[in-house]
Symmetry: C2
C-alpha cells in the first residue's frame, strides 16, 4: 500500500512534508510517494543519510497550488499541480491514499472531481474529531457543503457511523443529529426529514442532539450541514481564545500562579487546535472514491507523519468499502428503507407540505450518480455477508 503525499502543500513545504515522510517510513515501513517539484524534494531528502534506503518515491509535478489560489481557478489552470497529479496517482491505483496540507478548498475540489463520490454518496464531507468530557466525538460536515439536503445529512450519518466504528473502534457508536431541541419534531425542514431517514437506518441513531450536549460527549457522531458545522467549530475556537485571554488577565493580575496558568493555557491551545479541523493532524474527507486526508497548512513534520499513519489506517480498515456497503444496505435491504421513503413522500403530498427537491432519495442519488461514475476498482471482497453492516 502506497500513500501519496503532496510535498508542496502547507506553510512549511516541502521541508516539513519531506521530514514527515522520512519519519513515517522509518517508523512504519510502508511506502510513500512524494509529489511535487522533484529537485526541491530531492534536496530535502538528501539531508537524511538513510533516505536512500527508505521506501520513498519522488514523483515530479510542475506546478504548485498556492494557499491564496481560488479552488475553481486552480482546477482550471493548474493541470500539472502536485494536487492534481497526486490524486491522479490514487485514481489510477498507483497509491491508495492522498494527503495534502495545502489549500483546503482546492483539495476538496480536486478530490471530488478526480476521485468522484463513492457510490451512494451525493457529496463528500469533512469529518473532525472533537475532544469531549468522555473522550472524543466526530462532527461532520465541518464545512465542505454549505447548502445540504436531507439525503446528504443521512449519508453523513452513515459515514460518521463507519468512521466511529472502524477507526475509533466503537461497537455501536451513537449517531446524533445536531438540532435546536432534543424532541423528535425539533429542527429545520432539512433536519426534520433527515431525522426520519436516520431513524429507519441500521445505525444506532440517538435522535436530535442539542449543541449544548456536544462537549458532554453523549453522542459519538454529530451530523450537521457544513455551514452549521463550520460555525459550531469556529465559535468554539473563538470562545477558547476569549477564555484564554481572560485567564491571562487573571494571571497577570497575580491571582493564579504561573504554573497553573501555563497548564490551562496548554489545554486551551490544544483544544483550539483540535477544533480547527486541519490542525488535528488531518481530517478525512469522507465519501470520495479513495482515501483523502486534509492536513493543516501549518503542519510540522510530526503532523505530516500522523496524517500518513491515519491515511494508512483508513485504507487498511476499508472505511470506504464499509461506507458503500452500509449505504447500500440501507437502500436495498428487504425494501424496507425504500418503502419508508415512499411513505415519507406520500405523507408530504397529503400534508400539502414541503415538496421534495431533486434528488428525492438516497436511492435516486445512487442511480443518478451511477450513470456518470466510473466503476469502482477494488479487489477487496467482503469475507462474509454482513447481517448488519
Amino acid at each position: 500500500m502506497k500513500i501519496v503525499v503532496d510535498a508542496m502543500g502547507g506553510d512549511f513545504a516541502p521541508q516539513a512534508v519531506v521530514e514527515g515522510a522520512v519519519l513515517a517510513t522509518r517508523e512504519f515501513g510502508f511506502p510513500v510517494i512524494l509529489v511535487g517539484l522533484s529537485d526541491a524534494i530531492q534536496e530535502e531528502l538528501d539531508k537524511y543519510e538513510d533516505a536512500k534506503n527508505l521506501p520513498i518515491e519522488v514523483h515530479h509535478a510542475d506546478e504548485v497550488v498556492e494557499m491564496h489560489d481560488s479552488p475553481s481557478k486552480a482546477l482550471r489552470t493548474k493541470k500539472k499541480s502536485s494536487m492534481k497529479i497526486g490524486l491522479d496517482l490514487v485514481k489510477e491505483g498507483e497509491g491508495e491514499a492522498f494527503i495534502s496540507a495545502g489549500n483546503t478548498g482546492a483539495v476538496l475540489a480536486y478530490s471530488t472531481i478526480i476521485l468522484r463520490p463513492l457510490k451512494g454518496v451525493d457529496r463528500p464531507a469533512i469529518a473532525i474529531q472533537l475532544p469531549t468530557l468522555q473522550g472524543s466525538a466526530i462532527l461532520l460536515d465541518a464545512g465542505a457543503n454549505v447548502d445540504c439536503k436531507s439525503n446528504q445529512l443521512f449519508q453523513f450519518g452513515i459515514m460518521g457511523h463507519v468512521y466511529a466504528k472502524y477507526i475509533l473502534g466503537l461497537d455501536e457508536p451513537g449517531v446524533g443529529l445536531l438540532s435546536i431541541g432534543e424532541e423528535d419534531g425539533k429542527g429545520n425542514e432539512v433536519t426534520k426529514e433527515a431525522f426520519r431517514w436516520l431513524s429507519k437506518s441500521h445505525i444506532r441513531f440517538i435522535g436530535n442532539v442539542e449543541a449544548k450536549e456536544v462537549y458532554r460527549g453523549n453522542a459519538d457522531v454529530i451530523v450537521c450541514d457544513g455551514f452549521t458545522g463550520n460555525v459550531a467549530l469556529k465559535i468554539s475556537e473563538s470562545l477558547a481564545e476569549m477564555i484564554g485571554t481572560n485567564l491571562k488577565t487573571l494571571f497577570t493580575s497575580g491571582i493564579v500562579p504561573k504554573m497553573g496558568y501555563l497548564m490551562l493555557k496548554g489545554r486551551l491551545r490544544e483544544f483550539k487546535k483540535s477544533v480547527d479541523y486541519s490542525e488535528a493532524g488531518g481530517a478525512p474527507l469522507l465519501g470520495v472514491n479513495g482515501v483523502v486526508i486534509i492536513a493543516h497548512g501549518s503542519s510540522n513534520a510530526k503532523a505530516v507523519k500522523n496524517a500518513i499513519l491515519r491515511a494508512h489506517e483508513f485504507v487498511e480498515k476499508k472505511v470506504n468499502q464499509h461506507i458503500r456497503e452500509d449505504i447500500e444496505y440501507n437502500l436495498d435491504s428487504k425494501g424496507s428503507f425504500w418503502q419508508h421513503i415512499k411513505e415519507i413522500v406520500a405523507g408530504h403530498d397529503e400534508n400539502g407540505g414541503v415538496p421534495n427537491k431533486t434528488p428525492t432519495s438516497p436511492k435516486a442519488v445512487l442511480e443518478e450518480s451511477e450513470e456518470e461514475l466510473e466503476p469502482e476498482t477494488t479487489d477487496e471482497t467482503p469475507t462474509e455477508e454482513p447481517d448488519k453492516p
Copy 2:
C-alpha cells in the same frame, strides 16, 4: 408608562416575580401591572409593608401556561392565561411592555399572534447580548426562526442596528453577517442574498463575519438564522461547561489553588449565563408591535427587576419606532433600495440562478403584511425628518 409582568411565569413564580416588581417600583418608580392568579399575587404582595404605596396593580388571569406546555396547545386551549391576558393589555394600550419568565416558545407564539409583527418585519427575532473581548455584541436571531429567508436576515440586521444604536448607545454599530468565510462571496444561498441586501442598506454593514471572530468583538451586531444562532450559543455554553470541568480537575489535582479556581469558575458561570438567552436578565423579542422581554425560567427577583428596567428602556428609547423607520427608509428612500432589488432579481434571471421564493423582497413583505395588520397605535411623531435614521 406601565410595564406588564406575567406574575405566573418562571420557576419561582409568583414569589420571585412579585419581589422583582416590588424592587423595581421602589427603585425606579414607574408603574407595573402584575398579571395572574390574583389571590396568589396578593398573598406575595402582603409580605411587603410598603407594597400598598407602590405603583403596582394586580390584574387577574385564570390560567397559567406551564413550562412543559406545547406553545401551539397553549395558544389553542389557554385563552385566559396570564400570558394571553398580559399581552392583550399591551395590545389595548393599557401597558407598553410585556415581560415573562415563562415558557419561551409560548411567549414567542402569543406575542407574534397577539401583537403582530411590526410593519416591514416578516418575523420577530430573539436578540442576545454576548460578552466579547471588547465588551459586548448582539446576536440575532437566537432561536425564534429555524428556517429563514434572506429578507428576514436583512430585517434582523436593521433590528440589531437599532438595538445597538439606541440601547447600547453606539453611534454607528458595525453589523456583520455570520458566515463561513470573510470574503464577500462566501456563505450559503440565503446569506449570499442577504449580503447583497445589507450592502445597500444605510447601516454600517461590515460584511461577512466568521464564527471565530464572534468573541473578538469586532462586530457589534451578528446576524444569523435562528437555527445557526441557537447552535452557536448552545455550543458555547457546552464548551464553557467542559472547560469548567477541566479546571475543576486541575484544581482537585492541587495544581491551581482554590482562590484562582473559584475566580475562573465564577467567570465561566457568568459566561454560561450570558449565552443562555433567557439567563441574561431578559432578551428582547425584536420586531413585534410592542416591547416584549423574555426572561429566564430560573429568574430570581433581581433578574425580574432588571428585565423590568430593560423593558422600560426599550419603550423610552422608542426602539420599535426606530426599527419601523429604518426599515421603511431602506425600502423607500429615493427608490434606490427598490432599484437594487430589481437588479438582484434581474441578475438572478440572467444567471438562471436561484429563483426568489415568496415573499420576493422586504417591500413585498411589507405590502403583504400591511393587509392583515391593524394600524399602528402610536402617538409619538418623529421630531424631525431623519436624513439617515
